[in-house]
Symmetry: D2
Subunit: 357 residues, 4 copies
C-alpha cells in the first residue's frame, strides 16, 4: 500500500529520521532521456530550509538514481532513486516519545501498528513526499514527450485569496503565490502565525495544458477520481475540487454545462473532465491544505497509557504546508497523468494495431 | 477498471438501455447471513420513479443473487447479482444519436473509444450506480457484524443549506433532507428548476459511527484518499470534503488540532481521520453534486462530424441527482470501509496469530 | 481473487449447481467485431455431454452477452456474459453432503470457509471453466486482429503418448487426440477405466503461432510465469512445462541454447520464451492433468465431524478431464496473451507516441 | 511489474552491473522481531563466489535495511533493503555489447525495449535474485511466528537423481545435495561440464512443514498457481510439478486420491494442495532449472543489425544455476506463503470478528 498507480507505478519507502528515503518507479517506457538536472530541480522546488516561510530543517535532497537508466536513457526496467537524510535532529522528539501530538498521525499509527517511529512522525511525516517528487519528475519527463504541461501555484493562504492566477509569477515567488498583489499579505499572514507559534492553511491550484482527450478509465479509475485519490493522499489535504467544484453545485444545469462549438468547448466549468475522461480542455484542480498541525503552543493530549498530559512541541516545522505541498500536488498530478496516458493506449483496437503493425 | 476495492472488491457491468446490469462482489468473508429483503430495501432507496423529485423512469430494480450464497449464508466465493432493465425508452435518444450533449460523457466516450452506446448514456449513465448499491448492501451486511453504522442525507440543495443534521429525519424525507425546516424550500427549488426545464445541484453528508480505530493503509490507500476516490467516481460529483474540509483551511493550526483527553478526542474537526487512518471518532464527509446535466433547454453543441448543431433532449431525468446520489455515496462508503476492515486485519503480527492459533 | 489478468482482465462467478455462471471481461479495446457464433462454438468445444468420453451431464452452455457490445462491436466497457445451468442433479450429492471426497476440494473449502455448497463441488467444480472459455473467446477475437493463432490438443492419455502432433487432426477427434494412430488406444484406455469406475490422466499441448516478439513483463509478470499461473489455476493440473521443459534439464547448455541466424532461431528448445519474454518463435507448452478425482469406487474418508466413513460417489463425471481441460487451457492461453499484448504496448516511448500523435 | 504478491508484496530494482540492487517489502505486519543476522545468513546461502560449483564473482551481498524497522521491530511500514554491487567486471561484456547471446534474454529485451544494459545481462541477470532472498528473509521471519517451516535441496543434477531426500544433509552440502550418496557424482558432473566450458541442469525440491489448512484463494490466486507463478519467474526454470506432478498423470484416479482418516491424509500424492488450497499436509514442489545458458563455447548468433556472428563469452558464470537457484526458490516459496497467510485471514467472518472484538 506504499505504491500508487497501475501501469506507471511508484512505491516509496523511508522515514523522516531514518537513513534514507526513496522510491521505485515501475512501468516507465524505455527510451526516455533522463535529465538528472531536471529531476534535481524538481527536488529543489520542494526542499526545506530555503526561506523563512518553510521549516529550517536543511536537506540537500540530492537524488541518486540506482537503476533503470543506462547511458542516459530509461531502459524499461524499474528505476530506483534514493535520497539520504542529512539533517535530522531526533532528540527534538524525545519529549513526545510517549504522547500523541494533536492533529498528527501519532495516535492512529500507534493504535494501528502497536509501534511507531516517533522521531519526526516517522513514516507519516511529509518528508516522505520528497520521494513522490523524485518519482513525479520521471513522470514529467515522460509527459514532456507528449507536450503535456502541468503548472501549480498557491491561490489562497489564511483566507487571503488570489484575484488572478499567474503561473509564471508563482514560479518565482517564495511562497509560489499566483497573485503578486496578494503575495505580501499572504506572506505577512504566514509570519504572523509563525510568530504566534501557530500555523495557517492554504490552497493550491493545478492547471494542465495540452492534456489529450480520452485520459481516464471508467468507471472506477476515472481521471477525476484518481486525481482526488492522489491529492487526498498528500499530508494535510482536507478537500478537493474539480473545475468549478463547490461553486458548480450552486449553479443550475444550464450554467454548468459547457457548450461545444466546432472549435471546442465554449466554457470550462467542468475542469476539463466529463464522465471521468479528459475532454481536451485545461484541467483545473484545487487542493485544500489545513494549517500545519505542528505548532509550538501548549495542547492537551494523552500519552500511550492514556494519561492526560500537556504537549509542547520542539522541532522545526513549516508554518504553512500548502506551499511546499503544492509542489507535491504537481508531482502527484504528473504521476496520475503518466499512468492514465499508458492505460488509455489500448482503448481502441486500432491503437493496438498501430503498435503491433 | 470496472472494479473497485482491494480485498473486498466489486466489479460492475451494464448499460442504461442494455438487457441488464449487475455486479460481482469478491472477497466477502464466508458465514455472513444474507438478508435479501435488506438488499432489496437498499435498492428501493435509490430506485427511480418514486416521486416528482426524481426521474419518472420506472424500474423495479429487483436484484437476483446468482452465486456465492448457499442456504442463506455467504460462502466466501464470488457473489453475483443481476438487475434486469425494464423501462427503457431508447427512442427518446434517437435524435441525439450523433451529437454530444453538453455536460455529458458523450463527447469523451466517443473520442476515447470511437464508438458509444448513445441510448441513455450507455455505460456512462448513472443507472450503473444501481449495481453499486447492490454491492454496497453486501458490504453493509458485513459491517453490521462489526456494528459499524453509516448514515447519509442531503444538507444542501440549490444553495439552501440545512441548519441541522437529523439523520433520522432524512430517512423519511422524499428528498432525504437532513433538516425538516429547510426541506420545503429545497423541494420548491427542485420543482421550480424542473418546471423551467433546468436542474439544481446538491450536497450529501455522510456520517459513520462506531468506526474502529486503524482503518486506512498508508500511504497510498489512506482512508480519506480512498473515500475521495470512491466519491469522485460517482456521476456528477465535483468536490469532496473530509471533516471541516474547506473551512479547516481558513482556521489556524491550534483550532484544527483536535485535542485528546482520556475519554477521547475533544473535538472532531478532522472528520475522524488522522494521517489517513481512522481515529475512532465519527467519520464526516461531504460530497458535492453538480446540477444534472440533462436539461430540456436548447444548447449549442457539435455532432460527430464536428458540425455545430442545437441539442434538445427528450427523456426522463432527475432534476437533482444529489438526492439519489446520496444513497450511492452511502453505498460507496460501505464498500470502502468493508475493504479497509479486511485490509487492516494484518496490521499487527498479534492479529495474524489470533487468526491462526 | 475470482479475477485474472491485469489490463485484459476477467472475473467469474457461479457454482456447479447454482442458477447460472458467467463472467465480466474488462479492458477489451473498443471496435472489435463480436462474432457470437464463434463464441458459442468455443463453448461447444468444451461443453459436456457430447460423447462417451465425457460426462453425460447435458448442458447447452448457451452464452448470452449482457453488456459491453453495441451494434456488434465492443465498446470498451465491461463485457458481461451469462450461462444458465440447466441440467443439475443436485440429489446425486445428498449422500456426500457431510463428507469429504478424496482428491477433491471438499476438505479444504470446508476448512477454509466453514461452509460449502456441496452440490457438484460448488465453486470448486470444473463447471466454472465454462466462464473461462466464454472470456477466452473474447480474448481470441482480439488476438485474431493481430493474427495470433492458438491451437491445442491431447498428446498423452493414461501414459499413451502421441508420436506426432497434428493440430488439424485434433480438432476433429472426439478426444482432441494429436495423433490419429494413437487415438484408438487412448480411447480404449479411457473406456476401460470408465468401465472399472476409475479414471485416467492426460496431457495437453498448446502451440501458439505468430506471437509477436516482446510479450511478457519482467520480472514478476513474465510470459512463462503467467502461463504457469494460468494453467495451474485449471482444475486437476499438476505440472507444466515450457518448451523442452523437463527434458531441457537433462541436457547441457550448448544443446539447450537456441542459436540464432539472420532468419531467426535455428531451434526452439526454449518454447519461444527467453528471459520471460516471447522471442517470436512458436510458443510450446505442456500441461499435465491428473486423473479425475471423481471415481465410483469405495474410498475411505471422514465426515465433517471427523468420523471415518466410506465414500461412494454418484453423479456424472468425465473419465478423463484432460480432454475438455485442453480447451480451457487454450482459453487461458488466449487470456494471458491478450493481457500481455496490451501490457507490452507501452514498453517503448516511441510506441506511446504512435498512439498519441 | 517488478512487484510480486498481493498483501505481502515486494518490489525489486537493480541490474547486474549497476550501483546497487534492492527491494521494498510492503504489507509486513508490525511487531515482528527483525533478526539481521538471519537475513544476512539467507543472503550468504545464495551468494556467489563460495566454491568451485558457483561463479567466481565475489560479492559480499551485505544487506542494509533503510526503513520500516524501528528498535528491532517491523513497524508496518515499507521495509527497504539495499545491496551494493562490489565485484562487477563490466569489460568482460564489451565484446558482446552488440550481439545476442543464445539462450539469454538479450534478444528479447533488445526487441521489447529498444535498449538494454548489456553488462552482465543487466536487469535480466540472476543477480536480481539477491533482492528476492532479502525479501524472502523478511517473509520467513513472519512465517517463523506461525512455525511454518520451508526447506529446499537439490534432488537431481545432470540427470543424476537423489534416491533419498535428506534436508538436513542438503544444508551442509556445497551443492545442497539431498542425497550424500549421489553428491559426489553430481559434483563430478558439474566439474566435468565446467571443464568442457559447458553447463548442466538440475532440479530443486521444496518441502513445507506445518503449513496451515486454508492457504490459497480460489480461483485465480490458488496456492499452486501462485507457486507456479513464483517459481517460473526465477531465471532458467522450465518446468514445475506439484506433489506427484507428472507421475500423477500416469496413475489412475483411485491411486492419486489421497484417502482421509481421522488422523489426516493417508498418503500425499497431491503435494498438500486440493482445489488450490493447502490441506495441512506437507507441501512438496519440484522446480526444473535448465543448464546455465552462459557457456564458453562458440555459438552462432546475430548482432543488433541482424548480421550473423560468432559469440564467445567471457565472464564468470555458474556451471549449474539450480544450486543457488534452489535458495531463491525457497525464498519465493516464503514470499508466496506469507502473502497467502495474510490473504486467508478474512476467509470467515468469525476471523474478522476475532481481530476486531
Amino acid at each position: 500500500m506504499n505504491s500508487f498507480g497501475h501501469r506507471f507505478r511508484f512505491s516509496t519507502f523511508g522515514e523522516s529520521h531514518g537513513k534514507a528515503l526513496g522510491c521505485i518507479v515501475d512501468g516507465v517506457p524505455a527510451g526516455i532521456k533522463v535529465d538528472e538536472e531536471f529531476i534535481q530541480n524538481e527536488m529543489n522546488r520542494r526542499k526545506p530550509g530555503k526561506n523563512q516561510y518553510a521549516t529550517s530543517r536543511k536537506e540537500g535532497d540530492k537524488v541518486e538514481i540506482l537503476s533503470g537508466v543506462f547511458e542516459g536513457l530509461t531502459t524499461g526496467t524499474s528505476i530506483s532513486m534514493i535520497i539520504f537524510n542529512e539533517n535530522q535532529k531526533s532528540k527534538d522528539y524525545s519529549n513526545i516519545k510517549d504522547l500523541f501530538r494533536p492533529g498528527h498521525a501519532d495516535f492512529t499509527y500507534y493504535n494501528k501498528y502497536g509501534i511507531r517511529d516517533y522521531r519526526g512522525g516517522g513514516r507519516s511525516s511529509a518528508r516522505e513526499t520528497a520521494a513522490r517528487v523524485a518519482a513525479g519528475a520521471i513522470a514529467k519527463l515522460m509527459l514532456n514527450e507528449l507536450k503535456i504541461d502541468i503548472k501549480s501555484g498557491i491561490c489562497e493562504i489564511d483566507g487571503i485569496k488570489a484575484s488572478k492566477h499567474d503561473f509564471d509569477y508563482s514560479k518565482t515567488s517564495e511562497i509560489f503565490s499566483l497573485d503578486k498583489d496578494k503575495e505580501q499579505f499572504q506572506k505577512d499572514a504566514i509570519l504572523k502565525a509563525k510568530k504566534e507559534h501557530n500555523s495557517v492553511g492554504g490552497v493550491a491550484l493545478l492547471n494542465v495544458k495540452n492534456c489529450p482527450i480520452g485520459l481516464g478509465e471508467p468507471l472506477y479509475f476515472k481521471l477525476d477520481s484518481q486525481i482526488a485519490n492522489a491529492m487526498m493522499s498528500i499530508n494535510a489535504v482536507k478537500a478537493i475540487e474539480i473545475g468549478d467544484g463547490i461553486d458548480a453545485v450552486k449553479e443550475k444545469g444550464l450554467y454548468n454545462n459547457d457548450e461545444i462549438g466546432s472549435d471546442g468547448f465554449k466554457t470550462n466549468h467542468s475542469g476539463g473532465i466529463l464522465g471521468g475522461i479528459s475532454n481536451g480542455d485545461d484541467l483545473n484542480i484545487k487542493i485544500y491544505f489545513k494549517a500545519t498541525p505542528s505548532i509550538f503552543l501548549k495542547q492537551s493530549t494523552v500519552d500511550v497509557n492514556n494519561n492526560e498530559v500537556e504537549c509542547e512541541l520542539k522541532g522545526r516545522h513549516d508554518p504553512c504546508v500548502a506551499i511546499r505541498g503544492s509542489v507535491v500536488a504537481e508531482s502527484m498530478m504528473a504521476l496520475v497523468l503518466a499512468d492514465m496516458v499508458l492505460l488509455n493506449m489500448s482503448s481502441k483496437i486500432e491503437n493496438v494495431k498501430k503498435v503491433y503493425n
